[in-house]
């Protein structure tokens, strides 16, 4: 393990430019800087949330870190070694240490493959043995993510959205990664299911000690899961800090604007609800005692 001073992932001055072609032979090619000089660190066992509005470059940053997209410039260090220039086998090995969970579980899971095949695929691709055999391995993973292990032969379409997202999480866990990049992983879920999946993600981190790079636009969700928060706008990080600092004493004007815009259930209503809830529970207890 690396010591406390050394982060698990250190990305320095990442830049990603896309060519925007004007069309035709003489069309001018413009450069679009989707990620502009972004530096970030993810420490072992923590969750760094990367937040921002659409077009802020947060998803592109995630893909750069996962080495799914080529960097224009910048350095990435993972567990102390540089990974920004990896190719071939070494790149494959890196990609198994860093796993991604995407927004839409159905489109990121092959509909024609059973859960067992999906979950063991990362190991099979890397020609690694499946510990304890595919069936038992899948069942154990399914249990860990809160799925019925008897459903290991089912297909993604037979699961609800929340369950399908759990399959995506199980697949990520299969290779025992050190970093999981969750790209809007709970954004498409209904609020009750979303809460369950957030809890699952937190529980798994407590058990395994891996880190999350958690990409999200929903600040309320981020508050529930982040250790630290980086706020992105127009390709740049405008503010990084510990979660409570960013939410309670935001320094950057953009962060303040973002936080102010989030709709809230009135705090006095929440307080009243908690009082009423306590009184109700008290009443029920008294009735039970009688």
């Amino acid at each position: 393990m690396s010591d406390a001073a050394e982060p698990l992932l250190r990305a320095t001055r990442l830049v990603k430019e896309f060519n925007v072609h004007g069309g035709g032979l003489l069309g001018r090619t413009a450069k679009l800087r989707a990620v502009d000089d972004v530096s970030l660190e993810v420490r072992a066992g923590e969750t760094l949330a990367l937040v921002g509005e659409s077009g802020s470059g947060k998803s592109t940053t995630a893909r750069l870190v996962a080495r799914l997209v080529d960097l224009t410039s910048g350095d990435i260090e993972f567990a102390g070694r540089p990974v920004h220039a990896l190719t071939g086998k070494a790149l494959h090995a890196y990609r198994s240490e860093v796993q991604m969970v995407f927004q839409d579980p159905y489109s990121s899971l092959n509909p024609k493959h059973s859960v067992e095949r999906i979950v063991t695929a990362p190991l099979v691709y890397q020609k690694r043995p499946v510990p304890g055999g595919a069936r038992a391995f899948t069942k154990a993973l399914m249990e860990r993510v809160g799925l019925n292990p008897d459903h290991s032969a089912r297909f993604p379409a037979q699961f609800s959205g929340g369950q399908a997202q759990r399959i995506g999480i199980a697949r990520a866990l299969a290779v025992a990664p050190k970093l999981i990049i969750a790209d809007e992983a709970v954004s498409a879920l209904d609020v009750s299911v979303q809460a369950q999946v957030i809890n699952l993600l937190r529980r798994l981190q407590d058990e395994e000690g891996f880190s999350y790079l958690f990409i999200a636009h929903d600040l309320a969700v981020v508050r529930q899961i982040a250790t630290r928060v980086a706020v992105m706008s127009e390709g740049r990080i405008v503010e990084t800090g510990d979660r409570d600092q960013v939410f309670e004493e935001p320094r950057d004007p953009y962060t303040r604007k973002l936080l102010a815009a989030v709709p809230r259930i009135r705090p006095e209503w929440d307080a009243a609800r908690r009082r009423n809830e306590a009184a109700r529970l008290e009443r029920e207890r008294q009735e039970a005692d009688r």
Partner: protein, 284 residues
């Protein structure tokens, strides 16, 4: 204007509203015997998760249900029974007296026509003898009312030339040109960024204040609805779970499902709520 005793009658009175899709195995009811009222100038929030039937409810009121859907029950709007109207009569109500704002403003606008054409279209089809010039004037005024700057020039632009938030303003401008009595907004801010969402919600509030139009806000987002609605209907799988004033439902939810929903909503200001659902973390 309306007499005072009429003002006490609700603007919209829905009784036993049921929407069913006939299937081989019998009818599937996606909205089950709904009862609710909307006061004049009131704001009703219909909240539910996916599959709750909240969007079908709004389409049922508009008479725009998909093919094959069967609607039963009563929808009384300003004293008139909408379910008894012929299609031609319903056309006169749609757009003119009840207007609708949809979730995805880009796909809800026709890419082939300028926004001005699309805003003026409703006006021209509901009012007879409107010249092109008058209709254009109305479109520009409607765009100015939703705070689109440089409306006189932007009126000739196409939907793809606007940002997401501006497109939703165009959609709202479209409803405004007719001065409707009721605006139904179906997830109007779900596709938008949070800062833009705040602007659109402000705009809807401003329009209600200025025109006195009633509003039905369909949403999955309890925080949004708490900022907009004075009454709340909570739906789940086609059933009406609970209704009441927004304050009552938020402060003292009576049904377990409502309590669960309120517990599950992540709060930006602290970590409460979420932990509770840990125990409920099994498959549904």
């Amino acid at each position: 204007m309306t007499a005072s005793h009429e003002d006490e009658r609700p603007l919209l009175r829905v009784r036993g509203l049921t929407v069913a899709f006939p299937t081989a195995a019998g009818a599937t009811e996606v909205v089950k015997s709904l009862d609710f009222d909307l006061a004049r100038g009131g704001a009703l929030g219909i909240v539910g998760e996916s599959g709750s039937g909240k969007s079908m409810t709004s389409l049922a009121i508009m008479g725009l249900l998909p093919k094959g859907a069967e609607r039963t029950g009563s929808i009384e709007f300003d004293g008139a029974e909408l379910t008894a109207l012929k299609e031609r009569e319903m056309q006169a109500v749609r757009g003119d007296r009840i207007a609708m704002v949809f979730q995805d403003p880009l796909s809800s606008l026709n890419p082939y026509y300028t926004v001005g054409t699309q805003i003026a279209e409703a006006y021209r089809s509901h009012r007879t003898g409107v010249t092109r010039r008058q209709a254009r004037r109305v479109a520009i005024e409607a765009m100015e009312r939703v705070h689109i700057r440089d409306a006189a020039r932007r009126v000739d632009h196409y939907p793809h030339q606007f940002s997401g938030g501006m497109r939703q303003r165009v959609m709202i401008a479209m409803t405004l040109s007719m001065e409707p009595d009721l605006i139904i907004a179906d997830e109007p801010t779900t596709a938008l960024d949070v800062t833009v969402q705040a602007q659109i919600l402000d705009l809807l509030a401003e329009i209600r204040r200025d025109t006195g139009a009633g509003l039905i806000l369909i949403t999955h987002d309890l925080a949004v609805v708490s900022e907009v609605a004075d009454h709340l209907v909570v739906m789940r799988e086609g059933d009406l779970v609970e209704q009441g004033t927004a304050e009552r439902v938020f402060c003292d939810p009576r049904e377990p499902y409502t309590r669960m929903l309120l517990d599950a909503v992540p709060r930006i200001d602290d970590e409460i709520g979420l932990l509770k659902t840990t125990t409920a973390e099994e498959d549904r």
